[in-house]
Amino acid sequence: MSLVFNNENEANDPGIHVLIIGVGGYRYMDGGEEQKDQNYEAIGILKQLTSPPKSALAFRDYLIRQDADQRLSVPLGTIDLLVSPSPEDPEPGEAAESFERATLGNIMSAYSRWRTLCDNNAQNIALFFFSGHGVEKDDHYLLAEDFGMNPMNPWMGSFAFDKTRKAFHGCQCETQIFLVDSCREVTPSMLTRDITAVPLETPNYLDSECKHDLTMKASARNEKALGKKRQPSYFTQAIIKALDGDAASRDGSQWVVKTSDIGAHINQIMKSVKSSEGYSQRCTYSSGESKVILQYDEAPTVTLEVACESDHATAMAEFQCKEINGQFDRVRSPARPSPWKLPVKAGFYSLSATFNDPDYEDVNEQFSFVQPPYTFERLSR
């Protein structure tokens, strides 16, 4: 059973309904449990992956934590989870934790159930998360565990994501979030073939787009999505950081994370996850009207970096950082040429740099507005 979290009630109160799919083990591909001879020229070299199951589980755990802390704008309703572990990492979750496998059949069943739940209330939030292999030609094909079962037409084990997304606009719920953590490359030989993957649902072209859309992909067209082995992917880490406050903005008395802000900040947040990924992995997104999906009573924690105009001055300076409307007061002693990096709550700060060396002039009380996802201040007279 793929339903791993169920807080659905009969009154159909608004809730977040989540479908999470993490495909690391490809049964019929190279290194898979029932490896078959494949025409790799036609589909490209597709390896077993250890990152997607970790990504799926990290995302599930994050949502459950946020729900427990009552930070989600509407409570968590259900989570459907499908995970196919890689043979290299057969137990990506807790010890002996088992999962419903992410075969195309299981994905279709879970999608259908999930869609019905989402359809129950316009105030529901539909959240779809896929991590695994993907290739793109005229649609973005996401590969299920049983991709390649029929080597004559391996695409029977995949589904057309873009059409599926389009079809979901017909669902009653006004807030729809689709996160796809997959590559979007195409092999030259794929260009000469008629790929036959079908969507999980057929679109109705008379359906209007949903009001609050966020459809985000981990990579730009023809590009890769990356991650370290046995760890959540860079994209998943960035999404979690975004939700955790890196994409937060002030709204009245609260800090909130809105759908459109996740998209707007995601590439910058990717850089903070892995600085070298700032360009080589470019996320793309489309969004509709903004919608609050998380709210925080406290200001989010932001990394503040402080430096002087030269490395030498930075090394000689004693830095001080004081919160304007709060208690925070921290000092860094001289001797390091690297900028002072410190986690602070978003807000207003007074920064100063003082020197024992008479060759340098002190910088007194330079105000700084520190806000997510990251603030850098260079102190100068």
Partner: protein
């Protein structure tokens, strides 16, 4: 209340006019107000206190300042210096209104050697032809980017870039007396196209709106353009700005504000496919709001989409995507319609070859009617070719073997360092067997390669290219 004066310093004379969003937040982190500034200075009224003033550019780049607003001071001031956002005044518009790349790569690097541009125009008979280069002499050539000033008439135009190591790519050029185009080295890995191309007219509000639309920032788009009708209203004088305004209204479903102006745009601007795409989508959205399309509506949508495609390729990426979606809709509802099916297949080829992140339609291809995601590299045998920055050795050598020897000699002698000296004609009158006087006292033989390399070193890296270099770079060498 006290006054806070917000001052924005830029380099370019027109840069002030580019809209910039300024948001003010108080010390309790509450949003106080947002304003759009289309000038060098604006005053706002605030209660005394400490404020964060955030200036946001269309690219998403944000600059923050903290301002103390005092009741006793005449006027408090906050100053944003955007003049250092780029080292070149001629690049500034792209940083303020578009989303240029930030990279340390330079056009003198190996991969950019021999990079070229040429221009295509769709003639009244519907055929695409290579046209005279519209590059104006006041364009600027820098190692980190080339900024063209182009004069583009009211017809379908494409600029094509390519090179020995650069896949051929085409970029739609909206009509304008002074269209600006910035070509920079790309910042991406090898599988991303090595050149980043930004294009703009000086309709700054429309262009900034387009940047926001391209990244689905509807909130900012809505704040920027309270009245998109004003863009549509000017459709005769500025049809591309009108199209951008209409795309905004279509994307934000403000159908009642489109009036019949989209029809007029379609009828009056026959060279522009976007008007017909927009009219089709006005009808589609009207149908969607009533959840049905009558046969007459369907036929009218079909007619408009076919008309759009007959006219050519939409100017803007947003239009290309809407054209595909519209054709898909008609294809689904009229599956036997072979013409729709054929056009849809063709549009899909363009989409597959397109850079959907660009605001003006951009795709890889050999010519405008031949999109190809895996586009070829190399240098075409063609007239009106302009070299982007570098002038390849083979091109110089070829010129030297042509009858234009006098031009060539001038061209070379102007470019040579003092120690290279004068060209002495060879016995056969061609360049390969000539010797060179390297100094008055000492004669030595120099190879063609060495001479040309010395020429390139001295001329291409100089701040002011001479007239001959200008001819190569503006595509007027053979005219």
């Amino acid at each position: 209340m006290a006054i806070l004066s917000i001052n924005i310093q830029t380099r370019g004379s027109d840069s002030d006019r580019i809209p910039k969003k300024v948001e003010v937040i108080d010390s309790t982190m509450q949003h106080v107000q947002s304003v759009w500034i289309e000038g060098a200075q604006q005053n706002i009224q605030l209660s005394p206190g400490l404020y964060a003033v955030i200036l946001e550019l269309a690219s998403g780049k944000r600059l923050e300042k903290v301002a103390q607003v005092n009741s006793d001071a005449d006027t408090s001031e906050v100053r944003f210096d955007l003049s250092k956002i780029t080292p070149h005044e001629s690049h500034e518009w792209a940083y303020l209104s578009k989303k240029p790349v930030e990279t340390k790569r330079l056009l003198v690097e190996k991969r950019y050697r021999g990079a070229w541009v040429r221009f295509w125009k769709k003639n009244s008979d519907g055929r695409w032809e290579i046209t005279n280069s519209p590059i104006q002499n006041q364009s600027s050539w820098d190692r980190d980017g080339v900024s063209y000033n182009l004069e583009v008439s009211r017809a379908q135009h494409f600029m094509q870039v390519g090179g020995p190591k650069i896949p051929w790519r085409l970029v739609a050029l909206p009509p304008a007396e002074e269209l600006m185009c910035l070509i920079q080295p790309g910042a991406g890995p090898s599988y991303v196209h090595p050149l980043k191309i930004s294009v703009t007219s000086n309709s700054w509000k429309a262009e900034t709106l387009l940047t926001y639309l391209q990244k689905d920032s509807y909130k900012e788009a809505r704040e920027l353009v309270n009245n998109a009708e004003e863009l549509l209203y000017g459709k005769v004088s500025n049809p591309s700005a009108a199209a951008i305004g209409a795309y905004y209204l279509i994307k934000t479903r403000q159908l009642d504000r489109l009036h019949n102006w989209v029809e007029n745009l379609r009828n009056w601007m026959e060279w522009m496919p976007d008007g017909a795409v927009l009219r089709a989508w006005q009808l589609i959205l009207e149908g969607r709001s009533s959840k049905q399309l009558s046969p007459d509506q369907l036929e009218e949508i079909r007619t408009n989409l076919l008309l759009a495609w007959e006219r050519g390729i939409p100017l803007y990426t947003i239009g290309l995507k809407l054209l595909r979606e519209g054709l898909e809709l008609i294809n689904a509802m009229m599956p036997e319609d072979n013409l729709i099916m054929k056009n849809l297949a063709k549009v899909k080829q363009y989409i597959a070859a397109a850079d959907l992140q660009s605001s003006t339609t951009t795709f890889n291809g050999i010519k405008p009617e031949k999109p190809d995601a895996m586009s070829r590299t190399g240098t075409p045998e063609t007239k009106h070719l302009a070299y982007l920055y570098d002038i390849p050795r083979s091109a110089v050598r070829k010129a030297l073997n042509t009858p234009k020897i006098h031009i060539t000699e001038n061209f070379l002698s102007k470019g040579m360092n003092n120690n290279v000296g004068n060209i002495i004609p060879g016995p056969k009158g061609d360049f390969s067997e000539r010797s060179f006087d390297s100094s008055p006292s000492k004669r030595s033989k120099k190879s063609t390669k060495a001479l040309i390399d010395e020429y390139k070193e001295s001329m291409l890296n100089s701040d002011k290219p001479n007239d001959e270099v200008l001819k190569w770079r503006t595509g007027r060498f053979d005219t």
